[in-house]
Amino acid sequence: MRYIALIFIKGYQHTFGRIFPRVCRYEPTCSTYAYQAITRFGLIRGVGLGIWRIIRCNPLTAGGFDPIPDRWRDTKCVKNR
């Protein structure tokens, strides 16, 4: 399952991600963020983090540099920021 999700993200990055101009307000981009989150924390937590990131990625937030946390329990700090 996890690998299907990862392949899906890579597939997106190599097709649509290339064609459409960049929209993501963050670095790394939402797709890269989700990819790294899934590799580090597994499918469910990874996807959860990814969705949370996409929700944050809108004109009302500042955007900017936002790497995935090193450990799962650090994720709370990200939300507080």
């Binding site: 190599h14 097709t15 459409f20 101009p21 960049r22 307000r25 670095e27 996409i54 955007g63």
Partner: protein, 506 residues
């Protein structure tokens, strides 16, 4: 830079290939297949490939406020079923529906008829046994039909299937043909009908549908068997004059992307002595179907994003009530959507403007990290942060557009409201493509202007030309209602840019 462009081009080709493959594989093979299958003995009616020849043409015309029906004495059948409001005929040319046939007989017998007020009663005597077939035209959308006989079993045949009503886009109409049976749930059984499908069991109603209409047969007499069949394209060509090239590629580009079979279906109610059905011919509009409290509306569900599509349709219909024109309704809807998102897009335009002022700084960074794109991105992000600007609108606005677009596509592509909906000049039907491609090409031009107006990352300059071309390609054969929406939306984006900039940006 060169390599980047090549990779983008490859990505484009990949996407187009995926779309094409998808349409090819989601299309069932049609013409090249064995025409006859082994048939069970008890379904005598299935032995004949084409409906029996009808010679006599005595007809009885029934004119009601909503429809006009012509009955034929041959087989006591329906020769014409015409909905006045939609200007649509449902019986295929030279064909008959609700034909009464007798197992083992090749031809159809002629009935005598008697007309009494709202009813027509056919009667005949066959081998000393009498049979009576009565039509009651008591319903605003159809009729009740009953057959009574002491000892002769007869078959009621709808084997001719329904006619293609959308002559301007036959293939698209055909793609939506299907058969539903409602027992506990409403199920589309079109996929089960390989060649012949015998349904045995109770049901509340069954229906045969086209893109916009459904012929519903209610079952108060508790019939428990139905025989469905596929009308093979080769035969169909002969009997119904449908002569489109049904190659998958043609189908894909003829009616937008997406598969779907392009065959019609026939049905028969196999014989018994007595039979009682109620027939209704209704447009597939959710609100109209729901009125009957029979679960008909299950046929008008609008796919995965159906609930959003229904909200959009409500808004369209509200605008229609006021302005009596669906083209105007589409334009107003685009304005409404733009207005709702205006605060967000204002923010975006302002930040794009600020970006222009940051250009010199950006150039410096770009020169510094020429060979390390990850570091460059990171460095750029730092710059944006210090100046509190961000040139990107974010992933969420883009992703939110997707369900809205899908719902809009569903609403505009399959709703009967837009059927033959006249707008202005050459746009006489918002449910089919723009015949002169003015809207999609205009839309592409608009996109080009828009992206030339906004400062962009030089790495994406290549995209500025390709994107509009890509969008034109995608939109070329979509319904002109949808094209009109995007055309308007793009104009409004330009207007919005102008307004915000004139309003002054610090």
């Amino acid at each position: 830079m060169r390599e980047e462009q090549v990779r983008t081009l490859v990505a484009f080709i990949l996407i187009i290939a995926i779309l094409l493959l998808w349409t090819l594989f989601s299309k069932p093979r049609s013409s090249a297949r064995a025409p006859v299958v082994p048939i069970a003995k008890d379904t005598l009616v299935m032995e004949k490939e084409s409906p029996a020849v009808i010679v006599n043409r005595d007809t009885i015309a029934i004119d009601r406020p909503n429809y006009r029906i012509v009955l034929a004495t041959a087989g006591g059948s329906v020769k014409s079923f015409y909905l006045k409001r939609y200007r649509a005929e449902f019986v295929p040319e030279e064909q008959y529906l609700f034909v009464t046939r007798f197992p083992g007989m090749d031809s159809v017998i002629n009935f005598k008829y008697n007309r009494l007020g709202d009813s027509v009663i056919f009667s005949a005597v066959l081998k000393g046994n009498s049979i009576k077939k009565s039509y009651y035209f008591n319903d605003s959308s159809g009729f009740a039909l009953s057959i009574q006989s002491d000892s002769i079993a007869s078959v009621l045949s709808l084997n001719a299937g329904l006619r293609v009503t959308e002559t301007k886009n036959r293939l698209d109409d055909l793609r939506h043909f299907g058969v539903y049976i409602k027992d506990k749930n409403c199920v589309n059984i079109a996929k089960k009908i390989k060649d012949v499908y015998q349904y045995r069991g109770s049901f509340e109603w069954f229906s045969m549908r086209t893109k916009y209409f459904a012929l519903i047969i209610n079952n108060p007499g508790r019939i428990e068997s139905l025989d469905f069949r596929k009308i093979l394209p080769a035969l169909d060509k002969k009997i119904s004059g449908i002569d489109d090239d049904r190659s998958p590629v043609n189908a894909a580009f003829g009616c937008g992307f997406g598969g779907g079979s392009t065959v019609r279906f026939g049905a028969e109610i196999p014989g018994d002595h007595n039979l009682k059905i109620n027939v209704r011919l209704l447009p597939l509009r959710h609100d109209i179907l729901a009125r009957y409290n029979q679960g008909y509306q299950a046929m008008a569900e609008l796919g995965l994003w159906g609930f959003i599509a229904r909200i959009i349709l409500l808004i369209f219909n509200f605008f229609y009530l006021v302005f009596r024109n669906y083209g105007v309704a589409i334009i107003l809807f685009a304005i409404l959507l733009k207005a709702v998102f205006f605060p967000l897009s204002r923010k975006m335009i302002v930040s794009q403007y600020k970006m222009q002022m940051l250009q010199p700084e950006l150039k410096k960074i770009q020169a510094k990290y020429k060979n390390d794109s990850a570091a460059l991105n990171q460095e750029m992000m730092h710059l944006y942060k210090t100046y509190k600007v961000n040139p990107f609108s974010g992933c969420l606005p883009l992703l939110i557009q997707f369900p809205i677009f899908m719902a809009l596509y569903q609403a505009l592509n399959t709703s009967i409201e837009f059927r033959q909906a006249h707008f202005v000049f050459w746009l006489t039907d918002l449910s089919i493509k723009d015949p002169f491609y003015v809207l999609p090409i205009g839309m592409g031009v608009m996109m080009l202007i828009q992206s030339l107006m906004t400062p962009i990352d030089p790495r994406q300059r290549f995209m500025v030309v390709i994107m509009p071309l890509f969008m034109i390609f995608i939109f070329l054969n979509l319904p002109s209602g949808l094209q009109l929406y995007w055309f308007t939306y793009n104009i409004l984006t330009l207007v919005e840019n102008y307004i915000v900039k004139r309003g002054g940006v610090k």
